[in-house]
Point group: C2
Chain length 405, copies 2
Amino acid sequence: MKKLLLILLLVGSFGLLQSAEDCKPNLYNIPGAQYPCVYPDGRATFRVNAPDAKSVVVSVGKRYEMTKGPDGVWTVTTPPLVVGFHYYWLIIDGLQVADPATQTFFGSGWYNSGIEIPEQGVDYYHAKDVPHGEVRSRWYFSKVTGKWRRAYVYTPPDYDTNLKARYPVLYLLHGWGENQWGWHIQGRMDFIMDNLIAEKKARPMIVVMDNLNAVKPGEDESLYHARGLRAAAPPKPEAGRGAAPGRGAAPGRGPGFGPGFGATFTEMMFTDLIPMIEKNYRVAPGRENRAMAGLSMGGMQTFTTALGNLDKFAWIGNFSGAGLRGDFDPKTLYNGVFANPEEFNKKVRLLWMGIGTEEGMGMKSLHEALTKHGIKNVYYESPGTAHEWLTWRRCLYEFAQKLFR
Amino acid sequence: MKKLLLILLLVGSFGLLQSAEDCKPNLYNIPGAQYPCVYPDGRATFRVNAPDAKSVVVSVGKRYEMTKGPDGVWTVTTPPLVVGFHYYWLIIDGLQVADPATQTFFGSGWYNSGIEIPEQGVDYYHAKDVPHGEVRSRWYFSKVTGKWRRAYVYTPPDYDTNLKARYPVLYLLHGWGENQWGWHIQGRMDFIMDNLIAEKKARPMIVVMDNLNAVKPGEDESLYHARGLRAAAPPKPEAGRGAAPGRGAAPGRGPGFGPGFGATFTEMMFTDLIPMIEKNYRVAPGRENRAMAGLSMGGMQTFTTALGNLDKFAWIGNFSGAGLRGDFDPKTLYNGVFANPEEFNKKVRLLWMGIGTEEGMGMKSLHEALTKHGIKNVYYESPGTAHEWLTWRRCLYEFAQKLFR
């Protein structure tokens, strides 16, 4: 009993036993920056040199007030943070800015900072000594939007040597307020695919990452604008920002997640993106070689585009993007695509859904209702993670292993 | 006379005649951000919503104090700025941060904001309806540094269709405090190359962009650290930061621009980078198909690496990176590589040097001394620009047309 108490005491004060030297610079710090740093137990220390500021807060999931030392430097050490990637920012005298000490990442519609809390014993998203694919920046002109767009295209390690091979393609989408960089940088999708392919756990495939932001000339694009940066734009009536389809204020193709959500992106994808990819890359033909998946708003877009066009997609993934609340009838969802389970199961080779256990975004109820209704589907829960990138790295890792088999 | 006066008055007050509606959002603003905006005459208006701040300054070349309005929003309109790309940042109550309203760019060792002042009548660095190449992210392990590195590789538009072709290669370097993204993003090198190749003004070539930051385990890398972000790191003795070779404090391979400057990068390039490129891409063999160029510190690196290894490079470009001051003797420069002009001229197909007229970095004196000494070289001046990206876009545009001819 005494021994147990001692152990409990030791465990409880483990954080206190770690010295400042145990705090290792965050993976995304600029060269030479020691702070933010992360302790082995996941606590992070932030430092900001702002002697003239009245108030400095760091927002990393929650908000933590920083304390000014006699040297004018503000610091705070957080409680242990969940492993994985987190966006964060500073609030200096009320102004929300990126921490100048880190690389910036496009999330929530602007370039904020990022911190990586290392995950022990897990290396599937790290650079390893395996053949590496490329992520290629590819410009193309969209007839639908009337603008140049940039896609990022992952090609597998053997793409430039195995010249007779044609590859299946996964169209992989980011979430709200992010862009086509998200999966590459925050998601580390290239390492995930390289490692899976090296272990023969996934088939070599092309992965296309494009930008959800697709509007025709004159269409309202305010859905894609950052919140909270009001100085940047004159005040406007709020666009619909509901998280669930059907909750948005605006009908048609406009802003919000209304009934017409994602129609322009779908049209752009079929008119511009897919033809450009199939013209320029050695793509295996047909719906059996075409998958679509996305996270959060990209998951919603995937359901809108792929469930509405089963003649074009046989593999479908939705990571944290179902957004269904309350009662629903599987038979009438998505224009009745699930009405006939036998027909659906014959057409769709994989319907995959994943979510973090800390999210509560209603994916489980969809999975259960579909299963009860006779729709084959795979459901995955990422333990301990919220609506954040580690959930989606894990989703990709699981989903990619089941693709094109 | 009266007429002339009227015209002068009109021209003089032109700025005042432009209304707020003439101020167009900066090219790099986040979606939806109206500010910063740029007037047709190059003035820029910045806006920051920081009601609790005591002082807000924008630093874009010069520092401009912003003024707080009754709504708590700080604004300033600058005098006309020089055309092209400029890094900028905000100083909020003494803390230097990126403006949350724009994309961020890695410069001076951290991620600051960027503004583009449009250049009328010039489109060689814009996306045009021509075949586009790719910029590929390529990971590789460096035996010299003991770390994974990422290169960006531009492949020309016909690379994936003209499968029997082998291409000459330009190794193209960024400047101090930047990284391998600089030429792609700030420099818009892909558009410059795509447009030149489409007009047959440049030969299709591969362009390799790597990171100057190359140190062996244990070597001091403080040369690559941001200045002015002191909170990020514990205080250290200042490393040599002189702009001219030989002025640095530290000898050997250490920090600063001392005699050993660039030795590790050179070794890494020959041991790791060039073999990786020649293994993975369809590269035309030999020194006649290999060029090296860089801007500022990358120009210094180019002279160090290429002038020291003429058996490996036949085409050499230096953009704003000679850094010579005071008296020098061409015969003894760079270990005597210019001692025998006849020999040098036979070996080197192109020695190209460019600089902005507003820089004063000593490139002209080198050009004149070399010319007088009998060394063939090309000298270019970018009118009206300083040590900044428009100088280097113009340099690449001119230099690339003369390469591999």
